[in-house]
């Protein structure tokens, strides 16, 4: 096996200039392994694997690439192999130089070697060189990134002592997305979750967070930072107790002077969420048991639905199913007159033909933008609101502005491999 490694290593060319700045891999799921003959003498094997798992996940969170640790396949079939060594090591033609200066190098075909003469440490633990930071850097090379001489870039050639909780910044994300593209995919639903808190002075403060859900996963989206929360996605089961593990179809927040109620819909059923106890109600204060059939709680509304939202202007829930919209009056507890109506009728296109038409993924009212968005696939349409009509009175009520890409508005909502999802 060592003979084979040496032979293969000597045949490998040092990465040539043309390879930097180009995507090294043409597939989206890559395997990796910390090779047995290349364990570090400084950290436990479990710690090393945990750190590498995190390093790969960090790249997954900002690109369409996914990484999975493969402990079974023959070594030749592993896309990215990692190992530690000193001096002449692992059949590599480039020796390490001892403690100091070079801490690692990466080869185009996917091998990463770490100089075990360096004092590598786990993240946020004392002096030494953060193995996590070095691993993220070297994986960047394997993926095709060159050194980048920008303060704050993970691809700087020299090691900078780790700041607490380093992450991939905006430009590093764009660099890798320049090679592999951005992240896409349909969403199950998107919503702003509202909660009321009391400030230190006793004032009621209303806070919100934005959530994107896709099947059994979700992301918290930080509007101020134009990215998702570090470490997302998270399993729905972890963050939203009581909801189906496969996710939901819709979320509705009925919010008025008299009512403040949150509902999740899936299939023909729906749940009411108890935000104080952070779980769904099994029985709410009104004595209703959940899950409950949509047709019982909202007479006249068929399930399953595509999506829904509550419009505070007219106190109606708008349920979307296929090409139709069912307007449900909360006060009357029944469908509005003339419901259902065609989506194209209630939300006409400003540009003819530029309309989702049917089968929406999400109807999302954003408090950040103070606007309603209809989302389908990789596109979204902004619904003309008060602000737009103030500037141009001729715009029809609830008309749709031309569609744009979801990726242009909400950035870096990327999946990770299922094995990395806790």
């Amino acid at each position: 096996h060592l003979q084979s490694l040496i032979h293969k290593s000597s045949r490998r060319k040092r990465s040539t200039g043309v390879l930097w700045g180009h995507a090294a891999f043409s597939k989206s799921v890559l395997t990796w392994r910390l090779i047995g003959e290349g364990y570090s003498s400084q950290l436990s094997v479990d710690e090393q694997r945990h750190i590498f798992r995190l390093a790969f996940r960090m790249w997954s969170e900002v690109s369409p690439l996914q990484f999975v640790e493969d402990l079974r396949s023959p070594p030749d079939e592993i896309d990215i192999r990692l190992g530690f060594g000193t001096g002449r090591h692992l059949g590599c033609s480039q020796s390490f130089d001892g403690a100091g200066r070079e801490f690692a190098h990466a080869w185009f075909l996917g091998d990463i070697h770490f100089d075990d003469d360096e004092h590598f440490t786990a993240p946020n633990t004392g002096n030494g060189i953060s193995l996590l930071k070095v691993a993220v850097h070297e994986i960047g090379h394997v993926l095709g990134l060159p050194h980048i001489y920008r303060s704050g870039s993970i691809m700087q050639p020299s090691y900078r002592p780790q700041d607490d909780g380093f992450e991939l910044d905006w430009l590093d994300r764009k660099a890798i997305q320049n090679l592999y593209g951005g992240c896409g995919g349909r969403f199950s639903t998107v919503f702003d979750w509202i909660r009321k808190e009391r400030s230190a002075y006793g004032e009621v403060v209303v806070r919100f967070n934005t959530y994107f859900m896709r099947n059994g996963w979700y992301w918290l989206y930080e509007n101020r930072s134009n990215r998702t929360r570090y470490g997302d996605p998270v399993s729905v089961q972890v963050g939203w107790h009581g909801l189906p593990s496969s996710g939901v179809d819709a979320y509705v927040h009925v919010w008025s002077r008299e009512t403040d109620t949150a509902y999740f819909f899936k299939g023909t059923q729906y749940w009411r969420y108890d935000s104080e106890n952070d779980q769904t109600f099994s029985e709410d204060p009104d004595g209703q048991r959940y899950p409950r059939l949509i047709s019982e709680g909202f007479p006249g509304v068929p399930g399953p639905i595509d999506t829904a939202y509550y419009d505070r202007r007219d106190a109606h829930i708008y349920f979307f199913r296929g090409s139709m919209v069912y307007r449900f009056s909360i006060q009357a507890n029944k469908l509005a007159a003339q419901s259902p109506q065609r989506m194209t009728e209630l939300f006409p296109a400003l540009t003819p033909g530029n309309h989702p038409g049917s089968n929406l993924d999400a109807a999302y009212f954003s408090y950040t933008h103070n606007a309603l968005f209809l989302i389908k696939g990789a596109s979204y349409w902004r619904v003309v609101g008060k602000r737009e009509r103030r500037m141009k009175r001729s715009l029809p009520y609830n008309s749709l502005l031309p569609g744009r890409e979801v990726q242009q508005q909400w950035f870096d909502i990327c999946e990770v491999h299922a094995s990395a999802l806790k």
Partner: protein
């Protein structure tokens, strides 16, 4: 075992045999600049071709280095000004290294540059060796590095519009932790 006494191994001792050679003078600085792609060759008046191949061979590199050092050591002892070690290529490479490293661009191998060269770094060259392919590398690398200058500011944060649908209280986005 490498000897240590602290719980976190932070005082781990490394024998002198395992220490990387420090960059202390222009000789070692030239080797550094050559190794990481800032210089295409080590000598500027040597009749012998430098090793520029895509398979890095540290033994051949060492042999060239030694012959280079021997040649220039004898010259420097004789001391004619026109045979100084600071060739134009070296100076050019040094300037480039200082520029990309954010150091004062002096073209002189000063203490600040020495410190920077001795810092822990990645073993991947900053610039590749093939002069033909290097053009494409330079363009791509420059593009990536230019992008960082264009996008000098962080992404414009979204502002919370307080004109909520029916004008209720200000909405504040919570800042979460990983």
């Amino acid at each position: 075992e490498k000897v240590f006494h602290s719980r976190d191994h932070s005082d781990i001792e490394t024998s002198s045999e395992h220490l990387a050679e420090l960059i202390t003078d222009t000789d070692t600085a030239q080797h550094f600049l050559f190794k990481y792609g800032f210089m295409r060759s080590l000598t500027w008046e040597s009749t012998r071709s430098p090793v520029v191949n895509t398979e890095t061979n540290s033994d051949v590199f060492l042999e060239d280095t030694l012959s280079f050092v021997q040649k220039h050591s004898s010259l420097s002892r004789s001391g004619p000004a026109e045979h100084t070690l600071e060739s134009p290529d070296f100076t050019r490479a040094l300037l480039e290294f200082q520029r990309v490293s954010g150091l004062p661009v002096t073209g002189v191998f000063d203490d600040t540059t020495k410190v920077a060269m001795n810092k822990p770094r990645c073993g991947v060259p900053d610039k590749e060796e093939d002069p033909i392919e290097n053009i494409e590398t330079s363009i791509i690398t420059e593009n990536l590095n230019e992008t960082s200058e264009i996008f000098n500011t962080t992404a414009t944060p979204q502002t919370n519009d307080t004109d909520v649908q029916n004008g209720t209280s200000d909405m504040i986005e919570t800042a979460p932790q990983r």
